[in-house]
Structure formats: C-alpha cells, structure tokens
C-alpha cells in the first residue's frame, strides 16, 4: 500500500515587513494508491504550497504527511515532480534527461536503457532521443519531463500545472497522454491546475480549495477520467454531467474571486 496520508497540515509564515500569512489551515487528506487527484482553486489558495509540502520542499508548521507509513521531511525519489516548464536540463540530450534518475542512483546504463527506451516510446519521443531538449517544442519538452519522472519509478507523481504553458491544442493532446500514462502505470498522481476543464477531465477526485486561509472547500469524485482513458476527450466533454459540474465549479471559483476582490477593495 502506498497511500498518502495528509494529517492536519497547517502552514503560516512571517512576512519580512511584519504580519504573517496563513497559507494553509488544517488540511486533511487521504489519497489512495493509484488515485488521480486534481487540485483546483483561485490564485493564493495555497495549492502550490500544498504540493511543495508533499514534495518535501517546504516544512509545514503543523501536521504531518506519511507516505506508506513513512513521515515525509524532505524531497525524495519516491515522489516525482513535473513542473510547468524550465525544469529540464538543457545541457543533456533528451535521453540523458530521461535517464537522470537511474543515472544518479548508479544504475548501469545497460540496465536502465530498456526502460528509458520504453518510456521514450510511450511519450512518442523515440526519434528525438538524441536531440538537445532546447530544440524541442514546449509540448515535447513536457513529454520529456513526464518520461523523466516515470523513469525514476516514483510512487506518487506531483504535477504543478504541467500543461499550463502549452497552447490549447497541444494541451488537449497532453491531457490524453496524462490519462493514458495514469492507466498504464497505475501511479498515484496529484495534479495542480488553473483550468476547471482540465481538473474535471483529469481528476478522478477533484479538490476545490479556497483562499485565506488556504483550505479544502469542496471535494468531488468524478467519472470523466475513467471515461477519458483511450477515448476522445471532446466526447467526454459532451457527457451531460460535465457541463453541470463545470458551471457549478466555475461559479464557486467566481464567488471566491469576488470575495477576494471585495476584501481588497475594503482594505484600500
């Protein structure tokens, strides 16, 4: 069992000019192994902070996180990370980027090569493996990032708006790829996104977070991710429930945004 237990996490930090920010308050989550969780919320709701705490880059002020019963207190290879952009190593070829994890562990090339090749096939980059990463398009670069993460065989994949910098068409293709990879590998995935559509399509489970303090506002369990595996995502969007949920969540987020705006106006 590689379940992820998030136990009453809170995070507050002091600002240099005095005062403090409550970024997260009393977050409790149990994420089952193999679950695909998408996290949505207006800016400032602490979703990236939450991801960074799970990744081990930040320490919470209260609470604990356990993965497979082990407490998390730093970054580790069992939690792979995919960033929005700019996290690839430009000085390495596509192939070397993908095999970075095994290389760092000291796995001999002869052992890691078949798996690296399989992953390059999986993300459709076999013929680009000897190219420099800066020669690839943004979508291809994110495919490299996904393959690099998978090559390390993590238990949990943390994605911080991985498709946020891509154009709409590429984004749609990449959403299908993420679903396929999820089904293929059975990994636990936590995906942070700004896009309501993406959160609906990719989230088997969807968390809507609210700001000030950052907290879980509402939780959904959705059928669309399962429907989308191996299928045309545009067909999934025609599902009657999809439009309803989309409107509901959009309204919810609008309301939060309005509230933030109102508060700042009062303040000023």
């Amino acid at each position: 069992m590689s379940d992820l237990h998030i136990d009453n996490i809170s995070m507050r930090f002091d600002l240099p000019g005095g005062g403090s920010v409550q970024a997260l308050k009393n977050i409790n989550l149990d994420i089952k192994s193999g679950q695909l969780l998408s996290v949505l919320g207006p800016s400032g709701c602490g979703k990236t902070t939450l991801l960074n705490i799970i990744a081990g880059f930040l320490a919470p002020t209260d609470g604990e996180i356990h993965l497979e019963g082990k407490a998390i207190n730093g970054p580790g290879p069992e939690r792979g990370m995919v960033f929005q952009q700019g996290a690839l190593f430009e000085w390495m070829s596509v192939r070397k980027n993908v095999s970075f994890g095994p290389d760092m562990k000291g796995v001999p090339k002869s052992e890691s090569a078949p798996e690296v090749d399989r992953l390059l096939d999986l993300v459709g980059l076999q013929e680009f493996k000897d190219k420099a990463v800066y020669e690839l398009s943004g979508g291809m670069q994110q495919r490299v990032a996904l393959a690099r993460c998978l090559a390390n065989d993590p238990d949990v994949i943390l994605m911080d708006e991985p498709l946020g910098a891509l154009d709409a068409l590429t984004r749609e293709k990449m959403q299908s790829l993420v679903l396929d990879l999820w089904k293929e590998t059975g990994k636990t995935i936590i995906l942070i996104t700004h896009s309501v559509e993406e959160a609906l399509l990719l989230g088997e489970r969807l968390l809507v977070m609210a700001p000030r303090p950052g907290r879980v506002h509402k939780e959904y369990f959705l059928p669309f991710a399962d429907l989308g595996v191996g299928a045309d995502l545009r067909e999934v969007k025609k599902h009657p429930d999809y439009a309803v949920k989309r409107e509901e969540i959009l309204a919810m987020i609008w309301e939060m945004e309005e509230e933030i705006m109102g508060r700042t106006e009062e303040a000023s």
Binding site: A55, A87, E90, F100
Partner: protein, 447 residues
C-alpha cells in the same frame, strides 16, 4: 592651491577642450558626408544587381525595427579600406597612386633672391639656391656661380620638415657687422615679423639679421609621427625575423600572452570556486561580499604601483596583478551563474533522487557555464589590457615594453605595429573564447 584657482583652471581647460572639439567638427562633418556618399554609391551599384527578396527586405517598417539592422559587410570593408587610404594619403604611401596623396613637403630645388643694403645706401642682389631632400637621403649642395657685386650667391641643403639659418654675409663683402642688412627678398620688402613667401618656402628675418628658411611642409604627416603603412609592414617583417632590441617578436608576444594565460588561469581557479561558495552558502556570501564588492570597482591598473612595491617588477608581480584582475570577475560570474539556476531544476533534481554533490556536478556547474564563459571573455579582455599597461610601466620583455621602448627612440613604426598586434591579439582572444563557448555551451540562452 585654493579651490577658486582650481575652478578657473578647470574652466580654462574645459574651454580649451571645447575649442579643440570645434576645430575637429568640420572633419567630422566631412567624414559623415563621405559615409553618406559611399552609402548612396553603394545603393546605386546594388540596384543594378538583383539580390532577391529576403524576408527583411520585404519589411516596410525598418527604421526602429532592430531586427532589420544587420551589420552591412560592404560598409565594413569600405570603412577599413578608407582608413588605410587616409593613412596612406597622409603619409605619402607608395601603395597609393600619387594623385591620392595630400600635398607633401616641398622637395627638390628652388631659388630666391635677396637684396642687401651695405649700410652706405648701395644695394646689391644675390641668388640663394636651395636643395630640399627627404629624411634619410643625402642632399647635394647646388653648385652656383659666385656672381658679382658685394652680395654673392649662396647654396644651401635642407632636409624636408627642417629649417635652416642662412648666414648670407659669410661670403659677401658687405658684412652685417659693417652695417649691411637685407631689405628685400624676391623684391618684396622684408623685416622682422614680416616674412616673405618665396613659393616653396617661407623666408623670415631673424633678430640677428640672418635669414631663416622654412621649406613648405604640406599637410602630410612627418615620418616620425606617422609612418606609411608599408613601412609598418616592413618593420613587422624585419622585427619578426631579427627581433627588436635583441628580443625576438615571438618572445615579446609569447611572454605577454603567457602572463595573461597564467594570471587568468590562476584567477579562474581561485575565483570560480569562490563564486560557487558565495552562491551556495550564506556564510561565504556574507564573508566575501564586502571584499569582492570593494575590489571589483578598483581598476587593476591602480594596483600596479602596489604590486611593484610588493612583488617587484619581475614575473611574479605581473602574474599577481593579472590574477587579481581575473579573480573578482570570475568570482562574480560564478556567483551569478549559481544564483541563476532555476529553482525548478534544483527541485526536479532532488525529487529525482540526486544528492547534493550530484546536484552540484550535474545541475549547478553546467547551468553556470554560460555565465562563466561570459566572465572569462570579460576577464581575458581586462587581463590583456592590464598586461600591456603593466609592461608599459615596468618590464624587460613583452609587447607593452616593446612599444614603450620604441617610443623613446621615436620608432613610431614599431609603436604602431605593436598597437595593431595588441589589438589583433585581443580580438583573437575574444573570438577564440566565443568559438569555444559555442562549442562547449551550446545551450547558452536557451534555458
């Protein structure tokens, strides 16, 4: 000196500078006219030749669009050619046809007459024949008949750009001490302060009553101020074969380069780890920040006196100086290379299981290489400038030493050759590092 006099002095200096600039303005205007004329001619010539439609040539907005401004190769070639043509023209270079030369100094023979008054009211005329010869050649005194009367004919040899006093009464029977004096030159009245132009020279009457002959100098530069291009080239050939002052050109050049390379390498060897430490540790950043920030703006040239006092004028001193010149630049380059790593790269490496050492080796160092190369280019440039300056001050061998020694003997051709060599080598170093950069860090600017 009180402050007011300093201010008046500075005001005078400023006025002098402004006046000097004003004098140059017509020449600047002429240069701009030449540049524009060349452009117009080039446009007319190019119109006749089809060049095809490049994407840039189809743009209608070009003024202000930086991407359409590319260095015009023809303009560069013409510009460099023009420098050589002007150089040749003002030095009477043999590489240029005569008609391109600006008027040179008068050379050859000429004559004028003077009228002497013997003090008793009698006058007599005599002819002065003059031969003006080029520097380095031997002039031949014209042979003249002595003539008649109490003023007798004279003959004189003068080197171009020089003047000569004519003691006209040496052979005359009417001497100055008996009251004889010159009243006319070429039938024009002459007196102190009213010289006469005799066509090829200016003749002036001195306080003592002799004649001062100054042949016309033209507008060409005298050889000891600016030698012709071919002379500089010949000098390069002879010096590269025979050396200058018992030191071969290779030794001068090699020694300067050796100093730069050694100083730079030691500076980089110390500076890069220092920069990494400053980029990776609060403590080291705090410790070295004041030192680096203070030493960076101190020009290495200002350290020369101290380095000479401490380390003498031997090799150690110069290497220490270049080490100091390179050290801070390389430290700052390495520091900003480390600070420039995107945090997502570091996070990605950690979550892929890399250790701190692995992150240093596989992420931080490669990521900082472009910055380090930029630093190396700057540092090599500064080192090259510093070594020449240091050699000007104190050295036994080296390019800087060579030109300062040559300047003491007015060997302007060696000085110019040295300056051209220094420029070319500095340029070659820069190009070399850029080529190396392209080959070793192809990802520069693409992260």
């Amino acid at each position: 000196m009180d402050s007011e006099s300093v201010f008046t002095e500075l005001a005078h200096e400023t006025i002098n500078i402004v006046l000097s600039i004003a004098k140059v303005l017509p020449f600047l205007a002429a240069l701009i006219v030449i540049i524009l004329a060349c452009q117009a001619i080039w446009h007319m010539v190019r119109k006749g030749v089809s060049v095809g439609d490049s994407y840039n040539s189809l743009k209608t907005v070009t003024f202000g669009d930086e991407s359409t401004v590319v260095s015009n190769k023809s303009a560069s070639v013409i510009s460099v050619l023009l420098i050589f043509v002007l150089w040749g023209s003002f030095t009477g270079s043999k590489l240029l046809p005569e008609f391109l030369h600006v008027p040179g100094p008068f050379m050859g023979s000429g004559e004028f007459t003077y009228t002497s008054d013997n003090g008793a009211g009698d006058t007599d005329k005599a002819t002065v024949s003059i031969q003006v010869h080029a520097a380095g050649e031997k002039g031949k005194k014209p042979t003249v008949a002595s003539g008649d009367g109490f003023a007798l004919n004279d003959a004189l040899v003068i080197q171009a750009y020089r003047s000569k006093l004519l003691a006209w009464d040496k052979n005359d029977t009417a001497k100055r001490k008996t009251g004889a004096k010159i009243i006319k030159v070429n039938d024009q009245t002459i007196s102190k302060g009213n010289p006469v132009d005799v066509g090829f020279a200016r003749v002036a009457l001195t306080d003592k009553g002799t004649l001062n002959l100054v042949p016309h100098k033209g507008v060409q530069m005298e050889n000891i101020y600016l030698p012709a291009p071919e002379q500089v080239w010949e000098r390069l050939i002879t010096i590269s074969k025979e050396g200058y002052q018992n030191v071969t050109l290779g030794q001068h050049l090699g020694l300067s380069l050796w100093r730069v390379v050694i100083g730079f390498l030691i500076g980089a060897l110390v500076g890069i780890p220092l920069g990494y430490a400053m980029g990776l540790s609060n403590w080291f950043r705090g410790w070295f920040d004041p030192i680096v920030e203070f030493m960076r703006p101190v020009p290495p040239l200002a350290l020369i006196p101290l380095v000479i006092i401490w380390a003498g004028i031997g090799e150690e001193g110069k290497v220490v100086l270049l080490f100091l010149a390179a050290l801070w630049i390389m430290a700052i380059a390495a520091r900003s290379g480390v600070s420039g790593v995107r945090i997502t790269k570091i996070h990605a490496a950690y979550s892929l299981g890399a250790s701190k050492l692995q992150i240093l080796l596989h992420v931080i160092i490669p990521n900082s290489l472009p910055e380090i190369f930029t630093g190396a280019r700057v540092a090599m440039g500064v080192c090259w400038g510093t070594v020449v300056a240091a050699e000007l001050v104190a050295a036994e061998k080296g390019l800087g030493k060579m030109i300062v020694a040559a300047s003491k003997f007015q060997n302007t051709d060696v000085v110019i050759m040295g300056i051209v060599l220094i420029g070319l080598i500095g340029f070659a170093i820069d190009v070399g590092i850029r080529v190396l950069e392209k080959y070793l860090v192809p990802w520069k600017g693409k992260g």
